[in-house]
Symmetry: C2
Subunit: 502 residues, 2 copies
């Protein structure tokens, strides 16, 4: 076989597998956005999704996959894209063949039940309800990690599902720098005298107008409605049904303006990445974010660094005032900007500000590592959670609901996922620092509502590559540097110290 | 293997194939209702649909399918449902294995191009543009019919895709009775002196209110929003994404009230059928309308027999008046009822009334038969079309657009589809006659907006069986009678002669 035949067979085969992912995404999008919400509708939808999972798994672990990979693997002169296609094919194939189908089925069953039990336990604020199924899920995940065994530790194997190429040793090295510095910054901020007043954000804002404003924003941010749409759902998310059909959702709280506002910008940031892959990889297995960390860097860059910046509101605040004259006509932009950037030690991760957010994640990461290094019993988890909250944020959750039960992730078996949130913030700050150097007029452009250059930079340096490069290589290619937490630290200080008059 | 193992393996296997259909339906529904409408989005969606088609075809023609059928086929003591599952499995398998994959691919390609060229030809009203691709599609369909070869004529093979069990000899026998009688009825009606005045329907009616009214109607008709929804699309349709997720669409013309009104009721009639299968068959290959004729009987029964009846408007007209007081407050119900039932010789099938409609279909059926019996050249078709229009409806289309190019069906290779529209009307009239006998208070119930008994009757006698019985058996089971056109003839006379004071 010629080079072209070998690699194009592999390419087509994995393009079919990619199609399965896209179709699954539509099944899920539809379920969360507009499907009739009866038990029977949900049951049939679960069956359809499980069927696509089965088709994918069968295809992935088939003999044919192995042969196609083997044959392509003999070539040494692959070009950049083909090489990455082969690398990704090997990575997922090697994992898939190592995991017994029964284990996957048991896991799928456990997390389905797990979600329901977690939901109930959280409502009753009682960890003991969740404990047995959590223990089961953890044990299955340990077995899963031991089977795939792709890193030097069990946790590394879990990480590979979300952040290919990352290791816990590397994350340790980042968090070791980050943790004391953030704790210090938070200390400084919360002891500042001149605090923002966030009550303006908690008034009534008409949902219809919030929706219209959110659309106006993302149109300005160059979200392409020819290949995307926005809808509403209980939890905001981004879903690619192809590289030419990327959908985001938002949610609207009528008494809390930031929910829709920053939910929309966050998902728009994800979507701009998904919409920006170069055409050559559109229907390949590289039409994919390279890691959750990089994906999150794009959402956070737009949501926090841009969306909560003073320049952003130079442009958008007058517009927002026309949407909500009763609430905002006489309210100064400078106070609004400060209100958006209130920093507080709080209990709930998803409500945390930019500064304290990382501490919530570090807590979870440390606990996850203890779990998978067999250094903790499930029984001890609530206690450890609260201890760490005290250590990192100086508050102790009054109950399980606002403590260890607050996040859905573990009920779904998503261990190794949390640290990617911090990686996202770190990547975002570093990339943003590069952009500012590259585009000296950036702040001025933003204050004029012009985001084209920024997007172009991200397209050229990040988006277009999809999953061609692993995240660490992707960042290194820009300026020769690896990921450095100092960028994020500097960003926080430069933004928040002046804001708090420190 | 035991009885249970054999049949349940077959059942599960075909349940997976059914899942593929459901998923394809979602892909199509989404494309027509809300997908971003760019070329690239449409291209990727076409790829996803084609992929599901491929998966289905591979599964269907695989050796495993043959073995499962063979093994189940050895049993002689199958119960009703299992027997029907096996019958359907055999029917689709036997056809699928006979058709070369290349032929299917060629057909798929031809109809994709065919649609675009037809669209262009119709816009330019020039049959010669459409002719070459139509010829190609017809030739491929001839090859297809000859390969599957399931009836005694080529046309019978085509019919089997839409109306299993039907033959052209049988349809001939029905149409032979129908044609002269309908021609006669139309003659009588159009020569009547006292004609309805339909202009009231062609005023401006606010789209929002039309939409709300359409929802109010189908709620009353017991459309179950827990397992269904209504949306808008360019062409109204019904799509089942599972037996617990059945969706209809409607379209709204602001200057023509009947479009949304009867589009909605029509699709609701389809949906009530799709929503009414007995649970035992929900995820089997029997969770399906048994034929397009029976499907159409349900939509037409609700749309025309019920929806255009005087009793229906006894209940709904006062409500409609509250939606549109400016247009209707002083307009009597009796005139509105007559306006809805205007009969006219007209050019366009989809705009035709209940009476002339069958003649449009008979014309198409006769031409299709000529085509597949090799009794006509493509070149002659426009001429033959116009001749038949003159014969049946006494009008001659002024151009191709309002003549032979008006319907999309042939561009999609759907030959054998048209006659099911008339079968639908015939079945509807016959079933309705049974219902009226069974429920003496029916007309009174309808005039009180109570449709529960009617639906219950349809559920018990039609809907719940899904594809368990072929259509002819289904109707025979109700009263021992086969399909008889006289019911429809009588229905038309009993309704329209008084309405036209004949």
């Amino acid at each position: 076989m010629t080079y072209n035949t070998q690699i194009s067979q592999l390419k087509n085969y994995f393009s079919d597998i990619k199609k399965i992912d896209f179709i699954k995404n539509l099944l899920k999008w539809d379920q969360q956005v507009l499907m009739p919400d009866s038990d029977s509708s949900n049951r049939s939808r679960a069956e359809l999704i499980a069927f696509m999972d089965k088709i994918k798994h069968e295809k992935l672990i088939s003999e044919k996959t192995g042969k196609l990979i083997e044959s392509a693997d003999k070539k040494s002169d692959l070009n950049l894209i083909d090489n990455a296609i082969l690398r990704e094919a090997k990575r997922v194939y090697n994992k898939a063949v190592k995991v017994p189908t029964e284990l996957l089925e048991e896991l799928a069953k456990a997390v389905t039940i797990g979600y329901k039990i977690w939901d109930k336990a959280r409502k009753k604020s009682d960890f003991s309800i969740f404990k047995p199924i959590l223990k089961k899920i953890i044990n299955l995940k340990k077995e899963y990690a031991d089977k795939i065994n792709v890193g030097s530790t069990r946790y590394d194997s879990l990480l590979d599902d979300y952040e290919p190429g990352a290791t816990s040793a590397w994350i340790d090295s980042l968090f070791r720098i980050l943790k004391p510095k953030i704790v210090k910054i938070v200390d400084n901020i919360v002891s500042a005298d001149d605090k923002p007043e966030p009550s303006i954000l908690k008034q009534y804002y008409s949902p219809e107008k919030q929706w219209d404003f959110s659309l106006e924003i993302i149109r300005k941010l160059n979200f392409d409605f020819n290949i995307g749409r926005q809808d509403k759902s209980v939890h905001p998310f981004t879903m690619a049904i192809s590289s030419s059909d990327v959908r985001i959702t938002t949610r609207i709280l009528e008494n809390y303006l930031p929910a829709c506002l920053f939910g929309t910008i966050h998902e728009c940031g994800h979507a701009l990445y998904d919409m920006g892959f170069m055409e050559e990889i559109h229907s390949t297995n590289l039409a994919e974010v390279t890691s959750l960390g990089i994906h999150e860097s794009q959402s956070r860059l737009w949501e926090t660094i841009i969306g909560r910046s003073s320049e952003f509101w130079d442009f958008f605040y007058p517009i927002l005032q026309t949407y909500f004259p009763n609430q905002l006509k006489n309210y100064p932009k400078s106070d609004f900007y400060r209100a958006l950037n209130t920093v507080e030690r709080s209990l709930i991760r998803v409500e945390a500000d930019e500064v304290t957010y990382s501490l919530h994640i570090i807590l979870r990461y440390e606990i996850e590592k203890m779990i998978f290094e067999d250094k903790v019993e499930i029984d001890e988890l609530p206690h450890i959670w609260n201890e760490k909250m005290k250590e990192l944020l100086d508050i102790i959750p009054p109950d399980d609901a606002t403590g260890i039960l607050q996040d859905v992730h573990w009920s779904g078996g998503s261990f190794g996922y949390f640290p990617t949130y911090v990686l996202g913030n770190l990547y975002a700050a570093q990339i943003y620092s590069y952009v500012k150097n590259e585009i000296p007029s950036l702040l001025q452009e933003i204050s004029q509502g012009n985001f084209a250059h920024l997007l172009e930079y991200l397209r050229e340096n990040i988006h277009k590559y999809g999953a061609i490069y692993y995240s660490q290589e992707l960042i290194k290619r820009i300026n020769g540097e690896l990921l450095r937490p100092q960028y994020f630290i500097d960003y926080l200080k430069n933004k928040f110290y002046p804001l708090y008059h420190i």
